[in-house]
Symmetry: C2
Subunit: 360 residues, 2 copies
């Protein structure tokens, strides 16, 4: 694979992750390529289905670039789904219209668990092709983020068979048969590391591990069943490619109580949700990691002046980044499909404007 890409014109995001000085606070938004954009909905309609969109590199490239054409965001993120990996393991992913993801073959008994194998990466070639095509299309505009679900978060869907509000089946297995849960998580950790490395080979310039459901775990259990396996993933990651550092971000939603331990996971940056006080978090992590976050996405339902005021609170809470610290602005969760696109304009202007002013 040819890795001759155009040089980066805007490396602010990568610099912030690596805790190097920047002229302003870079930002991107989780789920920035999504249903709140009419152009996304148009491409989605052409593709026919969510998986039709995600598995076609042309479409995936198109929707990945759309938010960048509208807003001066500082990073692009591969358009895909965290459940591509379990799908490639043979669990049979589908998305019913208006509902969440479903697996036809969830892991519900010992036999199914012990039969679980790492996927053949060839079956995920559509993802790597999308990464390469997006990177080429970006042409150095901003860096491209690759991503995966965390071993635990994938396990939640793999055992529950879909979304859950109580995690009864997956936690039931965890408490009743911890041996089976560790087996799943071991397989997932190896698969996730290989999957992220293949994205890096294909052109991803940073990677992020989404531990969406780590915060549902009990203290002690989180460390053993989620954080431990993210650490294993991080240990297995390529941290450099083509002479460039590849920063890694971990994000446990609801993981604020475990920030000290997450900051020791080996990642370069830690994502935070809106429940965390950024000033305290910065003090807690010191020079170990950069921080990413943490505006409540519901702020985007307010007027531009309120958005500006809330952005200012976040930026002031982190404060002016000093030597060895870094802040990437983001929401604390994916942007809502009901967000007015104008709100994002106000958000981006506020983040860039206020943070430039704070540094001068």
């Amino acid at each position: 694979m040819s890795n001759v890409y155009a040089p980066l014109k805007n490396d602010t995001f990568l610099r912030a992750l690596l805790r190097q000085p920047t002229d302003y606070t870079p930002l991107w938004l989780m789920r920035q390529a999504g249903r709140y954009l009419p152009e996304y909905r148009a491409t989605r309609a052409k593709a026919g289905s969510f998986m039709g969109l995600a598995t076609n590199p042309d479409y995936a490239t198109e929707v990945t670039i759309q938010p960048l054409d509208r807003y001066p965001l500082d990073a692009a993120i591969l358009f895909s789904d965290i459940l591509t990996v379990p799908d490639a393991m043979g669990l049979g992913l589908s998305f019913a219209e208006g509902e969440g993801p479903r697996f036809a073959h969830p892991l519900r008994d010992e036999k199914a668990v012990l039969a679980l194998r790492e996927p053949d990466l060839a079956s995920l070639q559509y993802v790597f092709d999308a990464v390469t095509q997006i990177r080429k299309t970006l042409n150095g505009r901003v860096p491209l983020i690759g991503f995966s679900g965390s071993p635990w978060t994938l396990a939640c869907y793999m055992v529950e068979g879909g979304g859950s509000d109580d995690f009864r089946l997956v936690k039931g297995m965890l408490y009743d048969r911890p041996d089976l849960m560790h087996h799943i998580l071991n397989v997932n950790a190896k698969a996730v590391a290989a999957y992220l490395n293949a994205q890096i080979d294909a052109g991803a310039q940073a990677v992020m591990i989404f531990d969406t459901w780590g915060g549902a775990l009990a203290d002690g259990v989180y460390q053993a069943f989620s954080l431990h396996y993210m650490r294993e993933v991080i240990k297995g990651l390529k941290r450099e490619h083509d002479g460039q550092k590849i920063p890694c971000i971990v994000f446990t939603k609801g993981g604020g109580l475990w920030l000290d331990e997450i900051a020791d996971s080996g990642a370069d940056a830690v994502g935070l949700d809106w429940t965390v006080n950024l000033a305290k978090a910065r003090q807690q992590v010191g020079h170990k990691v950069a921080l990413q976050g943490n505006l409540d996405p519901n702020v985007l339902f307010a007027k531009p002046e309120q958005i500006h005021a809330e952005v200012e609170k976040v930026l002031t809470s982190f404060g002016k980044p000093g030597p060895g610290t870094g802040h990437v602005f983001n929401l604390g969760h994916g942007i809502s499909q009901f967000t007015p696109p104008e709100s994002v304009t106000a958000l981006v202007e506020a983040v860039h404007g206020i943070s430039r002013r704070m540094r001068s």
Copy 2:
């Protein structure tokens, strides 16, 4: 109203809340009168509907006592719903079969918000009658807990019109029209204080404020829009009745990051979910408050030996209560309707047995 009740035979729960020495760690379970019990389902079937059950003091008494007849729990809790208060405000509560609560008249605009009034307590007489009847029927067996939703948690349902997974409408109003949100919360705080005081007058021996959705708020916003109003409620509470102290418990699910501030709310005890490390929490709150919690309810899907081991972890994490400290064992959330009733037997035996041994 006659307040001549039989003396308490088991005051372990009240003593632990007031940080007085106890022979063992008392326990009760959130939602202990519930669908996991076949006898509850039988009474529910007789009553015809959830509200039929909650509004009839005979039925409410019957189901409140059921778990105590099965397990040697250390407290009873009024069987009711947190949404009785907004229902009495005229929002029109209903429960569709198999779905959550619904309000026919949610607060969606300025006009609806400004028309909101504290309810006439007479329309909640069925709740106070149930309290008195339960207290009489208990005949001093264990103390009776009264409860209410927190002002913020009630507001979530009142604005959303039912459950929500993103709180888009209520947070949208909070960020866009904080004046309207404060108006709702002011009315709610007064209503909740009056409602809890009427429960105390009717016979409740402790009260608990359920802030189920406080943990959905951003840092800073939680303090201003949830904790502040719980403090107002607590300020307005009767703390003694008939010469007995009436302890007050606050529980913000997902509020672990704000424990210091919650411990300063004026409550006697703070409920904790399973994400919190009890040893650290105990150190943090010192002698200010007792702690209540915090087993993951999903532990009850494991075998008795695993339940025993997980209970031991919780009790060991808190440690032997010393002078001026107190621990009430509970789950970190309501018990699941799918819980095998035998698991609760194992739980109660483990909590009582291990905690007695730890004190000797």
